[in-house]
């Protein structure tokens, strides 16, 4: 998340700029072979988490994508980002991941999370 006080930007990698990621959505980046999903939960807060759901390797960065013919469905999006709870639901089977801890409560499984900061308009991730 965006707490610059304890993280040295020099240790981080720029993955996007503020404005690149709409609130409630994410992007996927590959940094030295590590796939990371970065989500905007609003109020200049961004979270970085492994891009692959541990269940079946779905790309979490697509959570919140509009469904095909969304107007004829009820929830409109494939998976979702819950900005209040700071969770992301997988676009394939809705496994819910805590963006801060990387934990899926139902299975007890955990995926990697990464420090993420905003510095001078850049979104930085520490690998």
């Amino acid at each position: 998340m965006s707490q610059t006080d304890s993280i040295d930007p020099a240790e981080c990698t720029k993955v996007a700029e503020v404005g690149d990621i709409p609130e409630g959505r994410g992007i996927g980046v590959d940094v030295d072979g590590i796939e990371i999903a970065v989500f905007n939960v609003g109020d200049d807060d961004y979270y970085a988490i492994s891009n692959r759901c541990s269940h079946q390797q779905a790309p979490l960065c697509k959570a919140g994508e509009e469904k095909i013919n969304a107007e004829h469905t009820w929830t409109q999006s494939r998976g979702s980002v819950n900005t209040e709870e700071c969770t992301v639901s997988c676009p394939w089977h809705l496994w819910k991941w805590d963006l801060e801890t990387g934990v899926n409560e139902a299975s007890g499984q955990r995926i990697g999370t990464f420090d993420c900061v905003v510095d001078d308009g850049d979104i930085l991730v520490r690998i």
Binding site: E35, H72, R78, L94
Partner: protein, 379 residues
């Protein structure tokens, strides 16, 4: 040293290798909305009485998948809603599926009560699929009603020889398995048309009671285990009543009925039959023909005439264990890949590229991903 950063392709959702292999999806649901379906209802009297999306108001089932899914009933459309060819193509592109076998997804129909209205909706669904998919050269499985074999024959006469119809879609349930002789005209017709019978699970059937157990109240119990039990009941019934001795070229695909039960049925059927086979002669087809026994061991029909779709694959993580299970399941001869798009149990073809069980055996992988499908579909 500067890190290598790359923005991920937003469209590709499965491993890159998946795009290099021909993938046939044996269970892709199209879901036309009510307004698009209505013009295809032939009889005004039936149309006037269709009050809900897929027919008359359904009577609540004792169990609903929605209880288990955060999005509730939206689980049926977790991925979206395909209505026309372009929608199907978009979805398949993301999953590296080359050839989907589409069906009209009217899976709530078997649970409805009124036979005339059920037939009207089923017929309309087929007409819609003929116009929007068969005519567009998409491999399509059109539907026949299990509840009305005579109407089923009429539907087969109407579109059975259409190019682009690659299979026939219906449903299985435990109440009246498909071994009953009243289905023989359908089997004979399918053999002559060269069309496989694709039987899909349904959350309900009329009358609406699972015969497995009324206290089954969770998604895991009902969808996870009720349907495989229903599948086994149907498979064993068809084999033991001589369906495949009378119709040796008939191929039957069970969709969403699980697949890892095959070793159990394979060995248990043979064991029981070989111990005590004397009642086979008094099953209706054998009694009529005067034959005493099955022509072959029960497990041989399982290998040759029965297929199962793999969704969800649920492969053991250890490749050695996965390989053993695939071997005893006769997977090379019986398994067919399916995604079940757009439902909550969606199964993208990741297993085939992430598990060493398939990486080390591309012949097996190709059999499941496309060869078994091309062997039996009328293409």
């Amino acid at each position: 040293m500067a890190k290598a950063i790359r923005r991920l392709d937003a469209d590709a959702e499965v491993p890159e290798e998946a795009f290099e292999v021909d993938i046939v999806d044996m269970d892709f649901h199209v879901n036309p909305i009510e307004e698009r379906l209505e013009p295809y209802v032939e009889d005004q009297r039936a149309l006037d009485r269709l009050t809900t999306e897929f027919g008359m108001m359904p009577i609540p089932d004792k169990w609903d998948a929605a209880y288990a899914i955060e999005e509730g009933n939206e689980g049926l459309y977790t991925q979206g809603r395909a209505e026309v060819v372009e929608d199907v193509e978009r979805a398949c592109e993301m999953l590296a599926v080359d050839e989907p076998v589409v069906n009209a997804g009217l899976n709530l129909l078997p649970g409805q009560h009124h036979p005339v209205l059920k037939n009207a909706v089923l017929e309309a669904g087929n007409s819609y699929m003929l116009d929007h998919f068969v005519d567009e050269d998409v491999m399509t499985a059109l539907s026949i009603p299990k509840w009305d074999p005579e109407f089923a024959m009429g539907e087969l006469d109407r579109w059975g020889d259409e190019d682009g119809v690659v299979g026939v879609y219906s449903w299985f349930d435990p109440r009246e398995p498909w071994g009953h002789t009243k289905f023989d005209p359908i089997f004979e017709k399918l053999e002559s048309l060269g069309l496989p019978l694709l039987l899909h699970g349904s959350t309900a059937f009329w009358p609406q009671h699972s015969y497995v157990g009324d206290n089954m109240i969770t998604w895991t119990e009902v969808l996870g285990f009720d349907w495989p039990v229903h599948t086994m009941v149907n498979v064993v019934n068809m084999i033991m009543t001589g369906v495949f001795d009378r119709y040796p070229d008939l191929n039957v695909v069970f969709q969403e009925g699980g697949h890892w039960w095959i070793p159990f049925a394979r060995y248990r059927m043979d064991e029981f039959y070989e111990m005590h086979p004397e009642d086979v002669q008094i099953t209706p087809r054998k009694f009529e023909s005067g034959e005493h026994y099955l022509d072959r061991s029960p497990s041989e029909y399982l290998r040759d005439n029965i297929y199962v779709t793999t969704q969800p694959m649920a492969l053991p993580r250890r490749a050695g264990e996965a390989k053993s299970m695939l071997d005893v399941s006769m997977a090379k001869d019986t398994f067919m890949y399916s995604s079940d798009w757009p439902h909550q149990t969606l199964d993208p073809p990741t297993w085939f590229f992430n598990s060493r069980a398939f990486r080390d055996d591309q012949e097996l992988r190709d059999a499941i991903l496309h060869e078994n499908a091309y062997d039996i579909l009328r293409t």
